[in-house]
């Protein structure tokens, strides 16, 4: 299939495909970070993760509408406001969920799966009743649209760059929070030994609630970023859930680095395959590949070998 292209074209194909893969990579990391915190650190399987993302997307949509109608002069910066609001809204909903539901289920991880699935159904219907069944699209400020030409053929999309930058910023922030701050230490202490952590004076309930809230809040920001590339409807969240879980599991649930590495592997595989096959088959082959590797190496890509 290369015979149709010249060498120069081929190299630009690979450049652009690499860039497409990087965008997909950023998207995966954004989706998976929140889940990696909740699943990896707390052992909770949050099937409503997609719905938390969509809440962030709706918040972004309404923020954009608000700026459009009331503060058109500041429209250029609304996206930053929207992301903060999305974080707060999804985070608050997450904390409420933890308090009402999840905290009763820490000893039954499989049951968190069922309960959060129930929550996702409820949220979908609430979105549909409140925001309407139609999909909404967010209008982006002018500076986010278009692309920067690198060569004649190769162009770099600005919103892609934005997503990547955002991903790096959030990842760094999460890493600092989890591995450098005293709060992060508390989280890890609670994960490793809940009783002991409680005994040394850590308020484990509070740590759990804020951790869950943080994970959901990041999901909200991811949803906000998603409005740039996709649409927002009551059921859009469902589309992402399988991919997201696979990324986290594939990376080895407890490792942030693993999540990033697995997002990179899966996104590059998928975007490369997409170029040679049709979108459907690329997706199928990527998923099968991930499943097969998980069968061979069930602990995921990165996991610390521990004694038991």
């Amino acid at each position: 299939m290369f015979s149709d292209y010249s060498l120069a074209e081929l190299s630009s194909i690979f450049l652009m495909q690499g860039f497409a893969g990087l965008i997909l990579f950023s998207v995966f990391v954004l989706m998976a970070l929140g889940l990696a915190i909740i699943f990896g650190q707390m052992g909770v399987i949050n099937m409503a993760h997609g719905e938390f993302m969509i809440l962030g997307a709706y918040v972004t949509y309404f923020t954009s509408q608000f700026f459009l109608n009331h503060l058109p002069s500041l429209f250029g910066i609304y996206f930053f406001v929207a992301m903060i609001l999305a974080f707060l809204a999804s985070g608050a909903l997450g904390m409420a969920t933890e308090w009402l539901m999840i905290r009763h289920l820490y000893k039954r991880p499989l049951d968190t799966l069922l309960a959060t699935w129930g929550l996702s159904l409820i949220l979908q219907q609430v979105y549909r009743s409140v925001f309407g069944p139609r999909e909404v699209g967010v209008e982006l400020p002018g500076w986010m649209m278009g692309s920067l030409p690198v060569t004649d053929v190769v162009e770099v999309q600005i919103n892609g760059l934005f997503v990547m930058g955002l991903t790096i910023a959030i990842t760094v922030a999460v890493a600092l929070l989890m591995y450098r701050s005293s709060w992060g230490k508390q989280v890890r202490a609670v994960v490793q030994n809940r009783v002991m952590a409680g005994a040394v004076g850590i308020n484990t309930e509070k740590v759990d609630r804020y951790t869950f809230g943080l994970g959901c809040g990041i999901a909200g920001v991811a949803g906000s970023a998603f409005t740039m590339i996709g649409s927002t409807g009551p059921t859009s969240g469902q589309l992402y859930i399988v991919d997201t879980f696979l990324v986290v599991v594939f990376g080895g649930a407890q490792s942030l680095l693993g999540t990033i590495a697995s997002a990179f592997t899966i996104s590059q595989a998928q975007s490369t395959l997409e170029f040679f096959l049709s979108g459907s088959m690329a997706k199928v082959l990527t998923l099968i590949g991930v499943v097969v590797i998980l069968m061979l190496r069930p602990q995921g890509l990165f996991v610390i070998k521990v004694r038991r």
């Binding site: 292209y5 074209e9 630009s12 194909i13 652009m16 495909q17 860039f19 497409a20 965008i23 997909l24 998207v27 219907q125 549909r128 069944p133 139609r134 999909e135 909404v136 699209g137 967010v138 209008e139 649209m145 278009g146 692309s147 030409p149 053929v153 162009e155 999309q157 600005i158 919103n159 892609g160 740039m228 590339i229 996709g230 649409s231 409807g233 009551p234 059921t235 859009s236 469902q238 589309l239 998928q270 975007s271 997409e274 170029f275 049709s278 979108g279 459907s280 690329a282 997706k283």
Partner: protein, 427 residues
């Protein structure tokens, strides 16, 4: 449906074997059923026993029909407009005195975007509620699921969506276009107007886009001299990452991107197209899957410049449509938009009313037979007429998407196009 009327219906003899419902038709269907009740046929309110011999839900004062669409699930987005249009039509008909002097009541069921559920609900509407007609379904899959039910329990379905064709039933009236009606005129137009020679075909991965692209490819390769297809690709429903295919498009530089992407994927596709710097005012893009409804989600600025090919646009400039749009907005709000399918759904209750009145009966068999040749001059899209194959004669139009989310009609076929659900040469 008929096997006897015009000669253009070459396939009817064999088609008859496909459709079990046909076997039940009397040998001499031309003996119009109205002949059995000649005196009462067009009376203001004929006796129920005369117009309803098969136990449908018809009383002296009203008649029950069914509305069967998804109001929950992923398809709720698309089907909402159809429900609104059908309710509007029913309201209007009732305001004019109903059908055969009977007021239309409706039972609404939720298909919940779940095909088997459609079958279950269809059965309920026919068996339990004895609906005289059902307006509903949207996706091909849901129609395929209910079709055996309608044939088994002898119901009448008015199906509004443009679809892939390859089907015909005594028990269904297809008020949307079948694939050839929608595709061929558009392709001819783009070749003529834009001098298009190379086409890149895209679609969501299921039967309608695939069948439509197949017809498009056949037409491009066999009937359009010097034109070729340079790429063809499908994506799972709900897919949101189109960067790879956009890169391929940039490399192959087709004259026309021919896109049949549906649902939420649309939004991602057009946004990413724009972000990738593909300017739709310079790159010709022709789609058959984007109506005003979809633009609502995509955003006018993301798709402005693209061409859409279908039979109806909200901006059509004719008195019928002006009345229709005004009535629709009055009932459902100023901000609602009306797409092709919504309009086709609106035709359903009207066509049924006209057919019932022509047949002088609510009986399904008589309606099935009387349908051929029914004309509806007040249709928002203009004049339509039911073909003996139960599809509609209709014009095809090309509209260019505008920033405000409306289409500017740039082309309209001069004549009504004959529906041809089993096109020879496209198989």
């Amino acid at each position: 449906m008929s096997t006897h009327q015009d000669g253009s219906d070459k396939f009817s003899a064999t088609r008859r074997r496909l459709l079990k419902g046909l076997a039940a038709l009397p040998a001499a269907p031309l003996l119009s059923s109205t002949a059995l009740f000649p005196s009462r046929a067009f009376a203001q309110a004929p006796a129920t026993s005369a117009v309803n011999t098969t136990g449908l839900a018809v009383t002296d004062t009203d008649v029950t029909v069914g509305i069967l669409h998804s109001v929950t699930g992923t398809m709720a987005i698309s089907e909402t407009g159809s429900v609104q249009a059908e309710k509007l039509a029913i309201d209007q008909i009732n305001a004019m005195g109903g059908v055969l002097g009977r007021k239309i009541k409706f039972v609404q069921e939720d298909g919940a975007s779940d095909w088997p559920n459609f079958a279950e609900k269809a059965k309920k509407l026919l068996v339990n509620d004895k609906c005289a007609a059902v307006f509903g379904c949207w996706t091909s899959a849901s129609r395929k699921a209910v079709l055996p039910v309608f044939e088994q329990y002898n119901g009448m379905l008015y199906y509004p969506t443009f679809y892939e064709g390859l089907e015909q039933s005594k028990n269904v009236i297809y008020t949307g276009q079948e694939a050839t009606q929608q595709i061929i005129a558009g392709l001819d137009w783009v070749q003529r107007e834009k001098g298009a020679k190379s086409f890149y075909l895209l679609g969501s991965d299921y039967i309608w886009p695939r069948t439509s692209n197949k017809i498009a490819r056949k037409h491009i390769e066999n009937f359009m001299k010097g034109s070729k297809v340079v790429g063809e690709e499908y994506f799972p429903l709900g897919h949101t990452q189109f960067n790879s295919v956009i890169n391929k498009i940039k490399l192959t530089k087709p004259d026309v991107i021919y896109a049949i992407i549906v649902g939420g994927s649309n939004v991602a596709f057009y946004k990413q197209l724009k972000a990738a710097g593909i300017d739709l005012s310079k790159q010709t893009l022709l789609t058959i899957s984007v109506t005003e409804d979809e633009i609502d989600g995509i955003g006018g600025d993301n798709i402005a410049g693209a061409y859409s090919c279908m039979k109806y646009f909200q901006s059509l400039d004719n008195p019928n449509n002006k009345d229709f749009v005004a009535a629709f907005k009055k009932m459902w709000g100023e901000k609602t938009v009306i797409g092709d399918v919504t309009q086709a759904a609106y035709l359903g209750p009207w066509l049924w009313k006209l057919t019932v009145e022509k047949a002088g009966s609510f009986d399904i068999d008589k309606i099935a037979e009387a349908s051929a040749g029914i004309e509806f001059p007040k249709a928002p899209e203009g004049y339509v007429k039911i073909h003996p194959n139960h599809h509609l004669w209709s014009k095809t139009r090309v509209g260019q998407a505008q920033l405000d989310g409306q289409f500017k009609v740039v082309f309209e076929t001069p004549d009504l196009i004959e529906p041809n659900p089993f096109p020879k040469g496209y198989q």
